[in-house]
C-alpha cells in the first residue's frame, strides 16, 4: 500500500478508539473485581467461587464489551500498521486509565505514580512520530 495521508488518518482514528475503549474497559473490570474481592488462599475452590461471581457481574461484562470494541479496532489497524508501531501509539491509554481511576473510582494516585505515567507518555511521544510501517525498504 502506498504511503498517503489517508493511511495516517485511518490509523489515527482507530488508535483513538483503542485509547478510549481500552481504559474504560479496564476501569469497569476494576470496579467489578473490587466488588467481587480477591481470593483468600488461591485454592481451586476459592478460584471457582470467584469465577462464578465474575461471569455474573454486570461491570465485568460491560468492561468486556468495551475491550471487545478495543480488540476489533486493534485487529483492524494491525492489518496495515506494524505491531511495533501500534503498541507504542496505543499506550496513551496508560495515562487515560489513571485519570479515569482517579476521577471515576476515586483511587488515590501518589505523585510518584503520576510522574511514572508522565515518563511513560514521554516514551510514547518519542516512539510515536515514526512511520506506521517498520518492515518496508529503507
Amino acid at each position: 500500500m502506498k504511503d498517503s495521508p489517508g493511511l495516517h488518518l485511518k490509523t489515527n482514528i482507530l488508535i483513538l478508539f483503542i485509547v478510549l475503549f481500552a481504559p474504560l474497559g479496564n476501569v469497569l473490570l476494576s470496579k467489578g473485581m473490587k466488588r467481587i474481592g480477591s481470593a483468600k488462599n488461591w485454592v481451586p475452590g476459592d478460584i471457582f467461587h470467584i469465577l462464578l461471581k465474575i461471569v455474573t457481574s454486570g461491570y465485568i461484562w460491560l468492561g468486556i464489551a468495551c475491550l471487545l470494541i478495543f480488540f476489533v479496532a486493534y485487529m483492524l489497524v494491525l492489518t496495515w500498521a506494524d505491531y511495533s508501531y501500534v503498541q507504542p501509539a496505543s499506550s496513551f491509554s496508560y495515562a487515560a486509565v489513571a485519570l479515569l481511576g482517579y476521577f471515576l473510582l476515586g483511587e488515590p494516585v501518589p505523585p510518584m505514580r503520576w510522574m511514572g505515567i508522565l515518563v511513560i507518555c514521554l516514551g510514547v511521544f518519542i516512539v510515536g512520530n515514526t512511520h506506521p510501517r517498520t518492515t518496508g525498504k529503507a
Binding site: 500500500m1 481504559p23 479496564n26 476501569v27 473490570l29 476494576s30 473485581m33 473490587k34 467481587i36 474481592g37 480477591s38 481470593a39 488461591w42 470467584i50 465474575i54 476489533v72 486493534y74 485487529m75 483492524l76 494491525l78 492489518t79 496495515w80 506494524d82 505491531y83 511495533s84 503498541q87 507504542p88 499506550s91 496508560y94 486509565v97 489513571a98 479515569l100 481511576g101 482517579y102 473510582l105 483511587e107 488515590p108 494516585v109 501518589p110 505523585p111 510518584m112 505514580r113 510522574m115 511514572g116 505515567i117 508522565l118 515518563v119 511513560i120 507518555c121 514521554l122 516514551g123 510514547v124 511521544f125 518519542i126 516512539v127 510515536g128 515514526t130 517498520t134 518492515t135 529503507a138
Partner: protein
C-alpha cells in the same frame, strides 16, 4: 509477590498473544472495506488462521491474570505497570516478526520502562 507473578503472566502471555494475532492479521491481509458484512467476513477469515487461536488462548490467560491483579491492586497501578510489555513487545517484534526497530524506538521503550519502575515504586 503474588502481584509480580500475575504481572509476569500478563506481560508474557499478553505480548505473546498480540504477536500471534499480529501474525494472523498479516496472513489475512489489509482491510479496505469497512461495511458490517465485510467486517463479519473478515472476522471469519481471521478465525481460520491458527495463529489467531493461539493468540486468543494466550490473551485469555493474560485477561484472567489481569482480573486477579485488579482484585488486589488499583487500576491506576495495574494498567501502567503492564507497560512493561513494551520491552517484551519490541523484542518479540524484532525476533519473531522480523520488524526493524529503530534506535529512536528503543530509546522510547527504555524511557517507558523507567516510567514503569517509578509506578512500581509508588506502590504502598
Amino acid at each position: 509477590m503474588l502481584e509480580f507473578l500475575f504481572l509476569l503472566i500478563i506481560v508474557g502471555a499478553g505480548t505473546g498473544g498480540e504477536l500471534c494475532v499480529s501474525r494472523a492479521m498479516k496472513v489475512v491481509g489489509e482491510v479496505h472495506d469497512f461495511r458490517p458484512a465485510a467486517l463479519v467476513r473478515f472476522v471469519f477469515l481471521a478465525m481460520r488462521v491458527g495463529w489467531m487461536w493461539l493468540g486468543i488462548a494466550l490473551m485469555t490467560l493474560a485477561f484472567f491474570s489481569l482480573l486477579a491483579m485488579l482484585s488486589i491492586e488499583n487500576v491506576s497501578f495495574v494498567v501502567p505497570v503492564t507497560a512493561l510489555s513494551y520491552a517484551a513487545g519490541a523484542l518479540g517484534a524484532m525476533l519473531l516478526l522480523h520488524e526493524r526497530i529503530s534506535t529512536q524506538r528503543w530509546l522510547g521503550v527504555l524511557i517507558v520502562c523507567l516510567g514503569v519502575t517509578l509506578v512500581w515504586l509508588s506502590r504502598r
